[in-house]
């Protein structure tokens, strides 16, 4: 069992498990945390799982864990691995089942006081418009040809069909479409699961929140992002739904025997299910993962469309005026370039519960943000604060990655023993936060007490220099998928 004394303190916000800790480690493991957070992280098996990540063939520099990390399977959630493309692997398990789970932020022109009396109506109407998690929103099922178009075209396809505008795509990671997606590498099982789930939130920790800008940390950057104090904004958290889950399930199933028998890759947890990045199988998964990522961007774009519809119907306006600030994934594998030991190297950055945070000047950023860095969207747990940050140059040390939320600290089971759904809702209501859910049962599991303190997590990321705080957001209404 890993002990605190096995860790070397690099600075107040960064710890390292040296390579000598276990003979199969190829690189050290690093954890962004302060001492208090580290004590919390040591309570589950996150760091044992992080050590397993260091074993992956082709891994560069170190395996990383973010301060919100917690135990998962294969990698901990909140894990990052940059794998050299020329001789390394690709791992579906190191991306996770919810491919391109991510965040979208829509911003309005209103201050809270201007539409305060309408917030409840807005929440009710949004809940009506955004179909429930099981995909029974009353829309017709797409046929397989329609699904293929979304897998190839992502959010771009939906904008072409009138569900958004050009600016929505500019303010979305990858323009809402990965070009190397290939619908033919996605199984019919996966496509069938996707037929009635475009524009759905799903259950669990996925949510939609009406929030207000509670605090601005950097006025100049906030202005470029279009944020101002007390502004009403809408945050969406969801992913690729059953389609993405099935893509990961299919490829894990195929890759485990390939990894063990054909490629003879030894890893401590089957769930990594890795094959060489350059192999035909690895490339097929990479194109299927991209297709699922496109589906997730289309899903969030469709939700934005429904939100705009609700907004217009409640406020009686011709144009909702809701602008998309940004959309970014936190479960994904992307090809990126980094200078390592003086040489530029192509790596496949596996982010599992970690948010990309590109610095100012990065060519992949929309022009409007290029001078200041990528908007980084960090949700808190239900009823607590969320953040907008921006990427920094120093973030290169973490392969431009930061946390993806607050991070669980208590099992769903334990949370249910500690809190009752109706009590959680009542407590939030006392704080002025509405909760719209179709049932109370799932609420207790997502109670704030089951999560780390998001303010502390974000402070660690900022003090480590990986990103800078721009604004703190607090919820006015929480809308759950189920």
């Amino acid at each position: 069992m890993l002990n605190k004394k096995d860790l070397r303190k690099i600075n107040d916000y960064l710890y390292e498990i040296p390579r000598v800790y276990r003979s199969d480690m190829r690189v050290p493991a690093r954890i962004y945390a302060d001492e208090k957070m580290l004590d919390q992280i040591l309570k589950d098996r996150s760091l044992e799982q992080l050590i397993n990540v260091t074993v992956l063939p082709g891994i560069q520099k170190y395996a990383l864990a973010m301060p919100d990390c917690h135990e998962g399977y294969a990698s901990p959630i909140g894990g990052v691995a940059a794998i050299r493309i020329s001789d390394g692997i690709i791992s579906p398990g190191m991306c996770g089942y919810d491919i391109n789970c991510g965040m979208k932020l829509l911003i309005s022109n209103y201050k809270e006081e201007e539409i305060k009396s309408q917030i409840e109506n807005l929440a009710t109407e949004i809940q009506k418009q955004v179909p429930s998690g099981l995909g029974r929103g009353g829309q017709s099922k797409l046929d397989i040809a329609g699904i293929n178009k979304i897998l190839q075209g992502g959010a771009q396809k939906l904008v072409e069909q009138g569900y958004g505008n050009k600016e929505d795509l500019e303010n979305c990671e990858a323009g809402g479409k990965l070009d190397w997606a290939d619908a033919s590498s996605v199984s019919n099982h996966a496509k069938n699961r996707g037929r009635d789930q475009v524009g759905t939130l799903g259950s669990g920790n996925h949510f939609l929140e009406i929030q207000k800008v509670d605090q601005i940390f950097d006025q100049n950057v906030a202005e470029v992002f279009g944020l101002f104090k007390d502004q009403v904004i809408i945050m969406v958290h969801c992913g690729s739904r059953g389609l993405g889950h099935q893509v990961c399930t299919d490829y894990l199933r195929e890759f485990i025997p390939l990894m063990e028998n054909k490629y003879k890759i030894r890893v401590p947890d089957k769930e990594f299910a890795c094959v060489p990045f350059g192999s035909s199988e690895g490339q097929r998964y990479f194109s299927a993962m991209a297709a699922a990522a496109n589906y997730a961007w289309a899903n969030r774009q469709m939700i934005a469309h429904f939100v705009r519809k609700a907004w217009k119907s409640v406020l009686g306006e011709k144009d909702s005026g809701l602008r998309i600030l940004y959309d970014v994934a936190h479960n994904i594998i992307k090809k990126e370039k980094y200078v390592i030991d003086g040489k530029e190297i192509d790596v496949a950055v596996h982010r599992k519960g970690a948010t990309r945070a590109f610095p100012p000047g990065h060519s992949e950023l929309p022009k409007v943000y290029r001078g200041i860095g990528q908007p980084v969207l960090i949700p808190g747990s239900m009823g607590t604060a969320s953040y907008v940050l921006r990427g920094t140059e120093k973030g290169e040390e973490s392969f431009y990655s930061v946390n993806h939320g607050a991070g669980r600290t208590m099992s769903r089971h334990a949370a249910m023993r500690m809190a009752r759904g109706d009590e959680v809702v009542k407590r939030l209501r006392q704080k002025g936060i509405l909760v719209k859910c179709r049932s109370m049962k799932g609420i207790a599991e997502e109670a704030p007490l089951a999560y780390k303190d998001v303010d502390q997590v974000v402070n660690i990321v900022e003090r480590a220099g990986l990103a800078k705080k721009v604004a703190r957001l607090t919820p006015l209404a929480v809308i759950k998928g189920e």
């Binding site: 294969a74 919810d98 998690g133 799903g202 894990l252 199933r253 089957k270 179709r438 189920e482």
Partner: protein, 133 residues
């Protein structure tokens, strides 16, 4: 003897199921998986689905069976609480029984291979599966 129990895990759902033979343990794990999703029923007639799975070993057979049930559940909006199966030679066929569902509180994203266990302890079978939720 209970059919299954929930084990502690920070974020996901870990279930240990018990059974006197393979057929029973597969059925009990299925029951544990869907009961943990806290489904709200449509209150309709029971539904029955045919399943047929072939795998290279027993561990894979359990994962493939549960994954197929997740697929059927997601595409048909159903939850299954028992199975009537014949298992042999890493093959399985039979029926799973359940009901139409309005919604689940917890969504099973996938059946993982992490910490997977299926073994005979004395004259009892035990299996542990971690589900991503």
């Amino acid at each position: 003897m209970r059919n299954y129990e929930i084990l502690e895990h920070t974020a996901d759902l870990k279930i240990r199921a018990y059974g006197k033979n393979l057929e029973e343990i597969f059925s009990n794990m299925l029951q544990g998986m869907f009961e943990s999703c806290q489904p709200e029923m449509e209150n309709r007639e029971p539904v029955i689905r045919d399943v047929r799975v072939k795998s290279e070993n027993l561990e894979s057979l359990l994962i493939d069976f549960l994954s197929e049930a997740v697929y059927l559940s997601d595409t048909n909006n159903e939850a299954y609480f028992s199975a009537d199966l014949t298992i042999g030679d890493n093959k399985l066929k039979g029926k799973i029984q359940g009901k139409k569902v309005k919604r689940f509180q917890i969504e099973i994203k996938a059946v993982t291979w992490h910490d997977l266990e299926i073994k005979k302890v004395g004259d009892q079978w035990q299996a542990v599966v971690l589900f991503d939720v």
